[in-house]
Amino acid sequence: MKERILKNKNSSILNVRGLTVSLNREKIICNLSFELKRGEVLTILGPNGAGKTVLLKTLLGMFPYEGKIEWAKGIKIGYVPQRVSFVKDFPISIKEFFELKTKNEKEIKELLRLIGFDETFLNKSLNQISSGQYQRILIAFALIGNPDVLLFDEPTTGIDISGEETIYQLLERLKKEKNLTILLVTHDLSIVFKFSDYVICLNKCPLCQGKPTEVLSPENLSKLYGQEIRFYEHYHGH
């Protein structure tokens, strides 16, 4: 078992061993172990209710757990949560939203450029943008402070097909430009093949893990998704 933390390029950023999370006496995640390496894209794949969001929040220290979660020393984490609703109750511009986290105007402008918007976008109201644009803004927000690793909860939610492509192209680019390690959770199988180096199939307990092309067999997907498998078998066949 590899439990060492190294500082070179392929070193471990996160080491999780025997992680079990129970909320209100119900077991949400059982006995999960994995390692996240620097520069890697790791996807946690699973159906709705599989404990994916709880896993991310536990890694961020929001829930109590049993087992071991060990982040490498000095690692900075950025987090893009699922379902952040539009701000309707009070006016706030995109610039002011960023300023809740940093006053560094140069960094704000740079991040805005990085996610593909020009400076005029800063004065737009946060509730006047599309859901796809909002997700990019949340990515930029997570990137403030130059994190080493990005935790991303369900990147596709609420985005149309063309928007979806762009978000992944964007993530690819960010990974290269910012030297990011990415841990994302999703129920969408197509993302795993396009984008991930490593996949963990999770439905409360881990069902399989490894390189996507090696572990995502129809049998494993059947175990993971149960009745939904017909769609995925079809997809996997392509």
């Binding site: 961020l60 701000v87 109750d89 009070f90 511009s93 002011e96 939203f97 809740l100 109201s125």
Partner: protein, 257 residues
């Protein structure tokens, strides 16, 4: 201008401004309505202060703070909805207040009495207003982020309980100050109306905050000034002036669209 009136006016301007400022934060956290029942929780404190001839704000503050913690405690222990707990405490507070006070004192508790504000009280009010202003300024960005997404705030390692406690402390202080000017019945208007007017006109967060303070200040100023010339109680006039500005802001907003 006599010194007593000047003291009242200065105190009113500071309380109006800080109430508007805090109100803007409360509106963004969908909590403007909580001031109403909270202000009634202050009433037994006002009653005690009147009986023992102490400053009403002092009595109000302790009861408010105690009441707010009691709400939080009962919520944790009984799992009853907050509205139910507030309703219970609210009616008990009113019953206790009316049991011990004379008719004149009840009127003072409900709609305020600024005639007792002298130089010292004015100075204390200004100092407390400034303290609350800086406290609100400090907690504003974090609470705004919490309003947008608790998950985002937690990921930024923001201590939610600490900020909610400081927020409750600010509300208690502003209601305690406001009770003196407009009484327990109308204090919700002091926070909600300027914030709502600002919301109608502002494009961004900074403008929204500044406008809420501005509407709070001018409502208190004109309310107290008009009270001097007409003899009508300032409690009503401050709220009427504020409501008038709210109405104007609605018209401007409709033209903008």
């Amino acid at each position: 201008m006599d010194i007593n009136f000047f003291s009242i006016l200065i105190s009113g301007i500071f309380v109006g401004g800080v109430a508007g400022y805090l109100g803007s934060l409360m509106l963004s956290r969908k909590m403007t309505i909580i001031v109403d029942p909270l202000s009634h929780l202050a009433l037994p404190g006002v009653a005690l202060a009147l009986i023992f001839q102490k400053d009403v704000s002092l009595g109000a503050f302790f009861f408010l703070f105690f009441g707010a913690i009691l709400i939080w405690f009962l919520e944790q222990k009984t799992k009853l909805p907050t509205e139910t707990i507030i309703a219970i405490l609210f009616s008990v507070s009113l019953a206790v207040t009316f049991l011990f006070l004379s008719e004149h004192e009840i009127e003072e508790a409900l709609i305020g009495d600024i005639s007792k504000i002298g130089k010292i009280e004015s100075l204390i009010t200004v100092l407390i207003s400034l303290f609350v202003f800086f406290l609100v300024q400090r907690i504003y960005p974090k609470l705004t982020l919490i309003s947008i997404s608790e998950d985002l705030a937690r990921a930024e390692k923001i201590d939610l309980k600490k900020y909610q406690f400081l927020y409750l402390l600010s509300i208690s202080a502003v209601v305690a100050l406001g009770v003196k000017f407009v009484g327990g019945l109308l204090v919700a208007g002091l926070t909600a109306l300027p914030a709502a007017s600002a919301r109608n006109l502002a494009k961004g967060l900074n403008e929204y905050k500044k406008l809420a303070i501005f509407f709070g200040v001018i409502s208190a100023f004109f309310g107290i000034f008009l009270s001097k010339t007409t003899g009508i109680l300032p409690a009503f006039l401050i709220i009427f002036v504020s409501a008038f500005f709210f109405f104007i802001s609605l018209i401007i907003r409709s033209f903008k669209k």
